[in-house]
């Protein structure tokens, strides 16, 4: 059973093929996992913000890949929608970073630290 799934996976992501959507997806997945790990392991709030950026950009990369006319046939491509979506994500990320930095700054003013493990006032 497990062997079957894995064989299937390798069929799909055959790295010997010319560069296609799959390659981009794999890079995006690596970026996403890096970002998630960063968020899960860093105690510094700025580090977590960086992790968030990685996650978002991992997703952006997927959009770009799906939207590129060079990587997929016309029938399957998202076209400009993919690029628009990633632009949208970038704008959101900027706005979110501004809010998050403001929170971090205020937190620092109150507790003289930006260690997120100390920020547990909202626990149940």
């Amino acid at each position: 059973m497990n062997v079957l799934i894995l064989a299937n996976l390798f069929d799909r992501f055959d790295l010997t093929q010319p560069v296609g959507v799959s390659h981009y997806l794999i890079v995006g997945a690596v970026l996403f996992v890096c970002g998630a790990l960063c968020m899960a392991t860093k105690r510094n709030a700025l580090g977590i913000l960086m992790g968030i950026e990685l996650v978002l950009n991992g997703a952006n990369l997927n959009f770009i890949a799906f939207g590129s006319p060079y990587l997929r046939s016309d029938a399957n491509t998202l076209g400009l929608d993919g690029q628009l979506m990633s632009l949208f994500v970038i704008v959101l990320a900027a706005a979110e970073a501004a809010v998050a930095l403001a929170i971090a700054l205020n937190f620092y003013n109150s507790f003289s630290t930006i260690d997120v493990d100390r920020a547990d006032q909202l626990q149940g």
């Binding site: 079957l4 799934i5 968020m39 899960a40 977590i48 997120v116 493990d117 920020a119 626990q123 149940g124």
Partner: protein
């Protein structure tokens, strides 16, 4: 101007103006007051101005309709010398203003039937109503500020204080005038009935104007309920007419080309084929002979209409059985029942004296131009449907009434009650005249009586206004204090007594009463040979004419002549303001000369102008022939023209005229002897005639009799029904149902609500609480842990999805 189009429009305007005034006053004053907004007393005066303006304009329009529209195209002739003496229908204008609805054969419409009777009534009603409106403006001034009713004592011993309601008085006055004008112009019986009831409800409002007084509200109820009894008979009459004639219209409806499209009641009953004499229609005969018709139709089912007509034709020739006449009799007597109620005839006369509880202008309006006049007017209007037997019923009722009321008036001490009983008595005269075939005499007396009776009532109101009592025993000598009132009232007394120079001229009542007495004598002449009672119809009214003169002058002497009996009241008495004496003078002029006629050489429309000559133009179809009864063949109704035919001058006019004036003068003389010269003491007279005095004083015990025979049994039955049926049966069932419902509710409450629903909801709440407590542990507040949850969750979801996609779903 073309009367066919101008008359309906002018009279419609005169009719609707008071309604408009009613609407404006209702919306402007009564509705705000109902909503709790208090209008200033200063602005309430404008309500009176609106009402007076409406009715005076109505009078101007009516007078214009008479003098500028009708008379130029219909020149008058002297009544006695009616050129053709023809038995045919009068000139009239009829049509519909508005069609209310059509239900199969039944057509209900707001229509008009205008002849000189209508126009004359319009002028009379609007003129008298105008005078009374203006008079009331002065009389009702107490209502223009906070009013203390000294006749109502509250539980705490204080008199009732309330807001004045000046506007309400004029509001109902306008509606009252509108209703009466509606009856006068009405073109069909259905519309008449509607306005008839409107008059009834207005009288109810106005008699009960001082609604806080127990006596006033009782009197208003009494007037309304007694009238309902008469109206029940009227409904029967209406049904009899409609079900057989198929129409309510008085006149023949014409289309634009002048062709008759539908025949009215009058022309159906008096068609030219029967020389305009009363004959039941085929439909009436067929209705009475339904069995024969049914048999004929079964025998010849192919052509039922022809079979029915054949039966009617055969039965019409059957002289042995008066087919159709009983139905006509029922129709006539039925409608007369309504008039008995409205015009306060025996045995429904008891409401009218009690109606004196209203303010005096109301009494004046109710007793002269509107309410009671409506009954006599309707008898005059539907005169062609009365068979000789129905006329005998009318004459008998009138004869009993006029005598009964006059005897009660002799001993009454309340000034308004004397006048009330004299009204009943005079209405009896009118009904008697109509019943004896004197159509003109009855309606002529209606008009003249309206003038002098409104005058008398307004004078009595002026006196009451001055001395603040109705009791004549506390008056006396007021002649010096209030001369205008005293001498206008004297004119009214002379007019009602019928004083005049025989065969020449006199006060208005002289002319009309002479006509009545002449017709009575003519009737006696015609019936003396065959019936034994006809002399009563001559002797009783003659004696009553004397009694009338007696009690009217008793009233005048007790009030105005002699020495004051109550000096306190006398000292405070004063002449009324001009707004009240002005109408008195106007009405006094009419009370003197309403009976006169202009000579034939007078200019223009005034040639031969006089109320009798005017009414003569509206003489109903079929009244210029002497007719005999069919059910009661011995009865003869003489033509009204026999009474003043030149060859009958010596046998009827001379004895009747002399007898009438003698009776009147004897009555006046007796009153003078007893009450002015005091040669005979009234007390000793009363002692000598103790039984008669008691009878009169207690009003023949009619109120007590009705109380015992009708009111108490009704109340007893009502109480019985209340206790046994309502409280016992219906309340019992309802209480049992309520108990069952309550028991069911308890069960549902305990089992359903408390156990199932309450338990379920409590459990749900507790579980929600527990789940919340359990989940609380997850909320650690550590950000990195949350991220791990997200990551692990995502991976788990991914695995589940993969397994689902590739393993389970295949």
């Amino acid at each position: 101007m073309n009367p066919e189009t101008a008359l309906p429009n002018l009279l419609l305007a005169a009719l609707l103006l008071p309604l408009l005034s009613f609407a404006v006053i209702s919306i402007g004053y009564s509705v705000p007051q109902y909503l709790g907004i208090r209008t200033q007393y200063a602005t309430q005066k404008y309500a009176a101005y609106i009402a007076i303006g409406a009715i005076v304009t109505g009078f101007v329009l009516s007078a214009y309709a008479l003098f500028a529209v009708w008379l130029p195209t219909h020149p008058l002739e002297v009544a006695a010398h009616h050129a053709a003496h023809n038995n045919g229908p009068p000139t009239y204008v009829t049509g519909d203003w508005y069609l209310l609805g059509q239900f199969g054969k039944l057509t209900l419409s707001i229509g008009y039937y205008i002849d000189t009777l209508t126009v004359t009534m319009f002028c009379m009603v609007t003129l008298i109503a105008s005078c009374i409106h203006i008079y009331a403006f002065g009389y009702m001034h107490d209502e223009l500020h906070e009013y203390t009713d000294h006749e109502v004592t509250l539980d705490d011993g204080q008199h009732l204080h309330r807001r004045g309601r000046f506007h309400r008085f004029f509001q109902y006055f306008s509606l009252f005038s509108f209703s009466m004008l509606g009856i006068c112009v009405s073109g069909n019986l259905a519309m008449t009935f509607v306005f008839w009831e409107l008059v009834g409800i207005c009288s109810y409002f106005l008699i009960g104007f001082y609604i806080e007084r127990q006596s006033a509200s009782t009197a208003a109820n009494k007037a309304f309920i007694v009238n309902r009894i008469g109206d029940f008979g009227m409904l029967i009459g209406l049904m009899a007419i409609w079900s057989t004639l198929g129409t309510f219209n008085f006149g023949d409806m014409q289309d634009a080309q002048g062709n008759v499209v539908s025949h009215g009641i009058f022309s159906q009953l008096h068609d030219a084929n029967h020389h305009y004499n009363l004959a039941p229609t085929d439909s009436m005969i067929a209705f009475e002979a339904r069995d024969e018709v049914a048999a004929a139709v079964i025998a010849a089912p192919d052509n039922p209409v022809a079979a029915m007509n054949e039966v009617a034709r055969k039965l019409r020739a059957d002289k042995a059985h008066p087919w159709g006449h009983w139905l006509l009799f029922v129709a006539g007597v039925g409608i007369f029942c309504g008039c008995v109620g409205k015009s306060a005839q025996f045995p429904l006369h008891t409401w009218l004296p009690d109606a004196m509880e209203g303010p005096t202008p109301v009494s004046a309006l109710v007793h002269s131009a509107t309410m009671v006049a409506a009954g006599v007017f309707l008898v005059g209007r539907v005169y062609p449907i009365f068979t000789p037997e129905a006329l005998l019923v009318i004459a008998t009722t009138g004869c009993i009434t006029l005598f009964l009321a006059a005897t009660i008036a002799i001993t009454a001490v309340d000034i308004k009650r004397v006048l009330a009983y004299s009204t009943i008595s005079q209405l009896g005269f009118m009904m008697l005249a109509l019943g004896l075939g004197g159509w003109l005499a009855g309606l002529f007396h209606l008009i003249t009586h309206a003038f002098f009776k409104s005058l008398l009532f307004l004078c009595s109101g002026s006196v009451i206004h001055a001395v603040h009592t109705n009791d004549m025993r506390e008056m006396g000598g007021l002649r010096k204090k209030m001369p205008i009132t005293a001498y206008t009232m004297l004119i009214g007394c002379l007019a009602i007594a019928g004083v005049g120079v025989p065969f020449l001229a006199g006060f208005s009542g002289f002319h009309s009463k002479d006509l009545i007495v002449e017709q009575a004598l003519s009737h006696w002449n015609a019936n003396a040979a065959k019936t034994g009672f006809a002399w009563l119809f001559f002797v009783v009214p003659l004696a009553t004419a004397g009694i009338t003169a007696f009690y009217m002058f008793r009233l005048w002497y007790m009030t105005f002549a002699g020495e004051p009996r109550d000096h306190h009241r006398y000292d405070h008495a004063h002449e009324s303001p001009q707004v009240m004496t002005g109408p008195l003078v106007v009405l006094a002029v009419f009370a003197v000369c309403a009976g006169w006629s202009f000579p034939s050489w007078a200019p223009g429309a005034l040639a031969n102008f006089g109320i009798a000559n005017l009414l003569e133009q509206a003489r109903p179809v079929g009244t210029l022939a002497t007719t005999s009864g069919v059910l009661f063949p011995d009865l003869t109704i003489p033509s009204e023209h026999i009474a003043h035919a030149p060859e009958m001058f010596r046998t009827i006019k001379v004895p009747a005229g002399l007898a009438a004036i003698t009776a009147a003068l004897l009555g006046i003389l007796l009153a003078t002897v007893v009450y002015l010269w005091k040669s005979i003491s009234a007390e000793s007279l009363a002692r000598t005639l103790r039984p008669l005095y008691t009878l009169s004083w207690h009003k023949w015990w009619f109120d007590e009799l009705y109380d015992f025979v009708f009111v108490r049994p009704t109340l007893a039955i009502g109480a019985l029904v209340a206790v046994v049926l309502d409280r016992g049966l219906i309340d019992g069932i309802i209480h049992a149902l309520a108990a069952i419902g309550k028991g069911l509710a308890v069960i549902v409450s305990v089992v359903g609500d408390r156990f199932i629903i309450d338990n379920g909801v409590d459990k749900l709440a507790a579980e929600t609480w527990n789940v919340g407590l359990a989940l609380r542990a997850v909320q650690t507040g550590r950000l990195r842990q949350y991220v791990m949850f997200i990551v692990v969750g995502t991976v788990v979801l991914f695995l589940i999805a993969s397994v689902w996609r590739y393993a389970v779903a295949g």
